[in-house]
Amino acid sequence: MINQLGNYSLYIALLISIFIISKASLSLRKLSITLSGNIFSLISVQSIMVIISFLTLIYAFVTSDFSNETVYNNSHTTKPLFYKISGTWGNHEGSLLLWLLVLTIFLFIFTVESKNLSQRYRTLTLFFQQIIIFGFLLFILFTSNPFSNLFPIPNEGTGLNPILQDPALAIHPPILYLGYVGTSIIFSSALAAIISGSINKSWASHIKKWVLVSWVFLSIGILLGSIWAYYELGWGGFWFWDPVENVSLMPWICLTALLHTIFTLEKRDIFHSWAVILSITTFSLSMSGTFLVRSGILNSIHIFANDPSRGVFILCFLFILIFLSILIYFFYQKTIKENLTKPYLISKETAVLLNNLFMMFFLSVVLIGTVYPIFLEVINNEKISIGPPFYHKLLIPFLIPFLFFMAIGPNIKWINGKIGKINFTQVSIFIISIIVSYFFVKKYGVSYLLSLPLFILSIFLFFITIKDFFGKKVNISQKISHFGFSLLILSILLNGVLSKEFSSNMKVGDERKFLNKTIKFESIKVIKEQNYQSLIGEFNIKDENNSLSLKPELRIYDQPQTITSEADISSTIFSDNFLVFNVLKNDGFYNVRYQIKPFMIWIWISVILISFGGLISLKKKNV
């Protein structure tokens, strides 16, 4: 019964969407530039409708209403309440409804917070945003309706993939979607601004907030996914260059570039066209991310159902949007008034430009690495995979100059900087960095050719950003983010170089030697939990000074029948001890993997710092 409520409210939302689009296009044609209060209330009603349908779905999941097909396919009565709720967006239909929910809520917030901006700009943004909402509504209602009924009503559901039953992954999609969908507002608003000829400083300072918000959410969303992959997938890494990860990294890179461009646009009134192009690209990347993940093209755990018609729909919708935006860009491009003041080679503008160039390079590497295998398979049915070596080889050499410019760039003045001024302290810091890294590399005997310059420059950036905290007129948010980035690179580097790994097949009671440690498989015990059985292994890791006990877990879920491994990780600020074990064929052997991962925790902390910088920047009225 209640199921239908959700369904009908979506149809009402669809009608409202059609009405607003036609009304907006009429009022735009007549150039009568009033956004009537009427439309505002319509948007509120639309948001409420979508909220209602989302709540209905949550309700269906919580009460395990198996007359709903989505619930039947993805839930089970024995599941803990928390995962019943998170199961709402842990599947294809529900996650799209979440997309839609965020879309409408963001539009509502936009209409409220842009009250004192030009009516024409607001109406246009609203118009484009409604087109996106309309598309998603069609998509949900006709290809992936979360409210389809099942008859006869089954007694029990099939359960949520146990690997998704995890706190980090439960909140990962909503956070990530806030980031993704935030880019839709940027997209609509960029198109609106270009049509109304208002790509200028004030547009930049308005849209900057949205860029920051999406950027912060996207960063945190990626972080959550990465933490989850670290302890749940049992490979002990935090980034695998898996297509699904890349798909979220690409909009992030683009958004980062846009962030820098928008700041420059706000301050210096340049890069108008570029900002528009980036806005369009970022949203297209977010959309294609959804397309690639949802269509089942990418072969990964994120695929819940493979249904080609869904893929085709998103693909068409994506093409229409991109085509439309390119068309608008070329038609209205002349409204952009580029500020043609004399450019200087040594200036912050150049630094931002360089940042953007590097970002575009990183973006194209990730894009090609992600898309190339798909194309090759479509074209000549060859199956390939592209692994980390490809990305490392292409990204690392370019990271070196990138870090260098990142260190000196922010200290150059706007308009016309001078080289003479930046010299002394920076050069001395540079020399210190060389010395530090030389000793480091020598001590640990790192053989990789590029690691020395990479070390030098990340340490250089690290010191410079620390030094800059004590300068006068510090742009604190930028410093925090840049410092976070240097910390990120540094900890990834140290982590990569100093990680140690050991794996073996062990029986209970076995002992193995690794480095100066002894790893002992003490015991195993079985515990019955709500919807799984838990095998807890006890391992003892001893060296001369101390002993550490780790208790990794194997969970055997009944519904659906799956085994997952929960690594046990003991973190200190210097290093993580990571231990995970798997069942092998039934002759008593367990496959044990023990890893020492130095500075792991700093990778997470640095990403939090990076996003925190963005948050602070949002708080400040004027950056």
């Binding site: 993939n161 060859e382 592209i386 659906p560 064929k585």
Partner: protein, 139 residues
């Protein structure tokens, strides 16, 4: 001569062009080197020469073929036409089982033996890698 602005523009555009060309070249070159191709056991058998590149083999783990000692895991990947012996030392995913789909990544020693560096299986009891499903379909 040209003004400073024009010069800067020209410099900028040529820099841009050079970097675009350079990056395309680099990307294509690394693609050539670092791509890992996927084969079925039957395709491996028909290879005329064994090269040193890393490859992936996909198929089913043959029943009763897993042999474990404290160091290694040996098993056979089959597509029900041909079989490849795999030797592996390292950790395996939970769904690595006899009669289930698997992908092994590593280096070929000869037409029937692969030293694996990585074993992949997916996190779903019904899952079969699409490649495997396809190579089984042909039989």
């Amino acid at each position: 001569m040209y003004g400073k602005k024009v010069k800067l523009r020209i410099l900028f555009i040529s820099l841009l062009l050079v970097s675009v060309i350079l990056s395309i070249f680099l990307i294509l070159k690394s693609l050539e080197e670092d791509v890992v191709y996927f084969f079925s056991p039957t395709e491996i058998k028909s290879l005329t020469e064994i090269n040193k590149k890393k490859i992936r083999i996909g198929g089913m783990v043959k029943e009763n073929s897993i042999v474990i000692d404290s160091e290694n895991i040996n098993f056979i990947i089959t597509d029900f036409k041909n079989e490849i012996n795999i030797s592996y030392s390292g950790s395996v995913p939970n769904l690595f089982e006899e009669g289930k789909g698997v992908v092994a990544e590593g280096f070929l020693k000869d037409n029937s033996f692969l030293i694996a560096e990585k074993i992949l299986a997916k996190h779903d009891e019904n899952y079969m890698p699409p490649e495997v499903a396809e190579s089984l379909k042909d039989k």
